[in-house]
Amino acid sequence: MKLKLRIWRQADADAKGRMVAYELDEVSEDASFLEMLDVLNERLISEGEDPVAFDHDCREGICGACSLVIDGQPHGPQAATTTCQLHMRKFRDGDSIDIEPWRAGAFPVIKDLVVDRSAFDRIIQAGGYISAPTGTAPDAHAVPIPKQDADAAFSAAACIGCGACVAACPNGSGMLFMGAKVAHLGLTPQGQPERATRVLGMVAAHDEAGFGGCTNTGECAAACPKEIGLDVIGRLNRDFRKAAARAA
């Protein structure tokens, strides 16, 4: 299949970027989206040009490294799918495809399609952990957890921290990411000791990084490749309100 691509090219963090057009012939419809970009990059390298920089790692949809806003949608048009798991058969011969980086003040572009997502790491450092005694691992069934809670915690734990929620949010907010972590850790007994300090710390780190607030438009949940829902934002709000009332 033939494709017309428009890709955001930006030499470095301080450079002014722009959309650059490329044409690709003979793209296999069995190729993944990233493999299609690999083909483009091989051609660019052979022509002596700078290849397009983009993030990727496991290429099996679980690491959260790949990003790319494809035709205005983080991770592209297919629901519940990361960019690496998106295949070219989802597109048609002759299609024009626009590829941009995540856009958020807290995720500055490093080069081309690669953004700095360390703001998420700072949110995790501020509260995305539990205190555990050292020693041998306890038996898995030593602390009983209701099935419903375990399932909800596991659904929230499916978050791979890719940042598609921030990229989709018109306010550049990281609330879905934070909510997923607060739900994942706060639904289990192991996460209770830090429950209040976790939410206050994470929210402070989130705001300090320059993420915006939540207007409950739901763009984040629609873009999430792991289908995390707005209920985690509700839980985040609730935990925050209780913790802030106690801290005041």
Partner: protein
């Protein structure tokens, strides 16, 4: 090239660090203040809408209701004490609602400094709410100013007698003043859209319901918005079409 996220200036970094120490100044803290002030105004607006329906009982009943609001609690309470409680509560709610709206909108603007070249249609649960709330809010605010000039202070209303609420309403929506009625109905539409999102969004911010209750809240918000819009719209429409005169 540095991969560290550098705050724009030392001043904004210091400001952010300061804000982080005060949880109620955070995005969620401001959103809770916005939600609580919004809920107070929704409660007021329901009472206001129900009170308006006295117009269908005729001039005397309507004006008696208006007078009753002023003399509520007399002689135990001073004249207009209920009205002043409502006025102070409303002014405080409006101030908090608008202030948090401006601060959060400004932060959201900084959080997305570069727009996407390819704009895709929104697909969220409450799509375009961020635009509807901000621009609809401005329309509602302008309407409230007009509304006070027209039916409270009577600056632009031909009926100057404060005690003749019935006459002022009939004069306000006279067929010859049709642009006023059209503006009123447009502002009501903006209010309905604002409430349909605002009510469930406030519940999400304050109470944080699970998925099942979020869906129920959204349905309740839509129902309340429709009832409020219908309850307010029926008065000017009845006057314009001669059912009340």
């Amino acid at each position: 090239m540095s991969t560290d996220l550098q705050p724009r200036t030392a001043a904004t970094a210091a400001k952010r660090a300061q804000a982080a120490r005060k949880p109620w100044r955070s995005n969620i803290g401001l959103k809770i203040a916005m939600a609580v002030s919004g809920v107070l105004m929704v409660l007021f607006i329901i009472v206001h809408m129900a009170g308006n329906l006295h117009i269908f009982e005729g001039r005397e009943e309507m004006n008696a209701y208006a007078a009753g609001l002023r003399s509520f609690g007399e002689p135990l309470l001073p004249h207009e004490s209920l009205l002043w409680v409502l006025r102070i509560g409303l002014i405080a709610s409006i101030a908090v609602h608008i202030w948090t709206g401006i601060v959060l909108s400004a932060r959201a603007h900084h959080a997305r400094p570069v727009k996407y070249a390819h704009r895709h249609k929104n697909r969220g649960e409450s799509r375009n709410a961020y635009l509807n709330m901000r621009f609809g809010g401005i329309v509602i605010f302008l309407f409230v100013i007009w509304h006070l000039l027209d039916l409270t202070w009577r600056t632009v209303n031909p009926v100057k007698d404060v005690h003749d609420a019935y006459g002022a309403v009939v004069a306000a929506f006279d067929p010859s003043r049709w642009p006023v009625t059209v503006f009123y109905l447009l502002a009501l539409t903006a209010l309905g859209i604002h409430l349909r999102h605002g009510i469930w969004s406030a519940v999400q911010t304050i109470a944080g319901p699970d998925t099942k209750w979020r869906k129920r809240t959204q349905a309740i918000a839509l129902a309340v918005a429709v009832i409020i819009v219908a309850g307010f719209a029926i008065v000017p429409l009845s006057v314009t079409f001669g059912l009340v005169s």
